[in-house]
């Protein structure tokens, strides 16, 4: 569920990694099911874990080259360490299967999040970002878009045809729209920016776009509309 074209090389690379990690997870789950159902043939468990480790190790160069944030890379490395530790744990340590599965799933979630929020990569220029926003917001008036970007509608039109370094606000709006498109209609995305939020101390997202200190809170608020919590 993404507006980004799969032709983008960075996006395609992430998709390939995602497919491989899904495969690793499926192979591991199958192995665990066999091992727990037939403990008498338990000799295969170590081989299976070694195979998982080999497949994940083979992914390392791709993961390092992937377009991920510092935070995502940190999570990824921590998960890889956990998987390695699980694979090297004593055979009688029954928690090692759970630890390995959790590690694999953490890797998968990092890649999934990067795919879900992909908006052209770190090098995307203003024309590319605007293209992504407009693709996610069909039917939304240029005046509404201009308000989100805090520019004149004529500037939006100019950006549509001119390559150039993307302004910070444009990058942030593109990122937020990339998150919000998973849970809202185009009209709903525009409405989200206008509604006061408890998690933003009663502020409206649109009023906080110009405040660099609020960027992280805005991204967290946008992600919160993707899943329910007990409130």
């Amino acid at each position: 569920m993404t507006a980004t074209t799969p032709k983008d090389p960075q996006f395609r690379r992430l998709l390939e990694i995602d497919t491989e990690v899904e495969g690793v997870k499926a192979a591991f789950e199958t192995a665990i099911a066999e091992v727990t159902a037939h403990p008498e043939i338990d000799g295969s468990a170590e081989k299976r874990l070694t195979e998982v480790g080999r497949r994940l190790s083979a992914l390392k160069p791709q993961l390092e080259a992937a377009d991920l944030s510092f935070e995502q890379k940190a999570t990824l490395y921590a998960a890889m360490v956990d998987i390695t530790n699980a694979m090297n744990a004593a055979p009688e340590d029954l928690d090692r299967f759970e630890a390995a599965l959790i590690g694999i799933e953490r890797v998968r979630h990092v890649i999934r999040d990067a795919l879900d929020e992909f908006v052209g990569g770190a090098s995307a220029d203003r024309r590319r970002l605007l293209e992504e926003i407009e693709r996610s917001l069909p039917g939304v008036k240029q005046a509404e878009l201009a308000e989100l970007l805090d520019v004149d509608p004529r500037t939006v039109r100019r950006w549509s045809s001119e390559a150039g370094k993307a302004e910070h606000r444009l990058q942030l709006v593109a990122h937020l729209v990339a998150i919000l498109r998973h849970a809202w209609t185009p009209k709903g995305i525009v409405g989200w920016f206008q509604r006061p939020r408890r998690d933003l101390d009663g502020g409206r997202p649109i009023d906080l776009l110009a405040q660099p200190a609020s960027e992280r809170d805005l991204l967290t608020a946008a992600r919160s509309s993707r899943n329910h919590y007990a409130t």
């Binding site: 799933e105 809202w184 329910h228 919590y229 007990a230």
Partner: protein, 210 residues
Amino acid sequence: MAEIAFKHARGVVYRATTYDTCLWVSPNSRPGRWNDPQAGAICQYCTLDVASALAEMVRSENLREVEDARELSISVWELRVDEGAVVDYSTPVSAQSQGFEWGALVSDNWAPCQAEAGKLVAEGARGVLAPSAALPQGVTLTLFGPRTEIAWSVEPSLSIQIPARHILRGAPGDGLVRDTRFFDQAYPDVTPRSAQSLFNLDLNVERRVS
């Protein structure tokens, strides 16, 4: 200190999310009733009925107008849980008999519930049943710790695996939006439904801790 009874909870619960997976293995990044991100805990928020899952979304997104709520497009997942060590705070009687104030369970201030979650986890609890603050008479099941989903028809091999499937996608109904309790609104004077009436909760207490 009152005794806490651990029960076994088995049945179907629901979760609203648009991620391709409905369960977490990493600490929650934002606060919820039973988690404080500073504590680095993992909570899996579920409800015992579909309406409560959607009402929690409506409340947290502050969708007071039905026109706004119609623009939300959210997926609902069904999960087949079979969990031991679940604490039941779903009614005033069950909460207070175990030493926890009913009012804190529906208060806009989450701090007492977050602190209680820390204590319950330290005692070995794997989940807590509680009223939904968003939908009076709705019930939530919050699972503590990481979980991963497996196909609906597959039996779990590990205790962290839960069979799950995506069942629907759409917007909350207008009636549900009107029934949702928003922040700063008082919890109505209604008789809470016991989790037992919605869920296959084993009557036999597994063990007690005090």
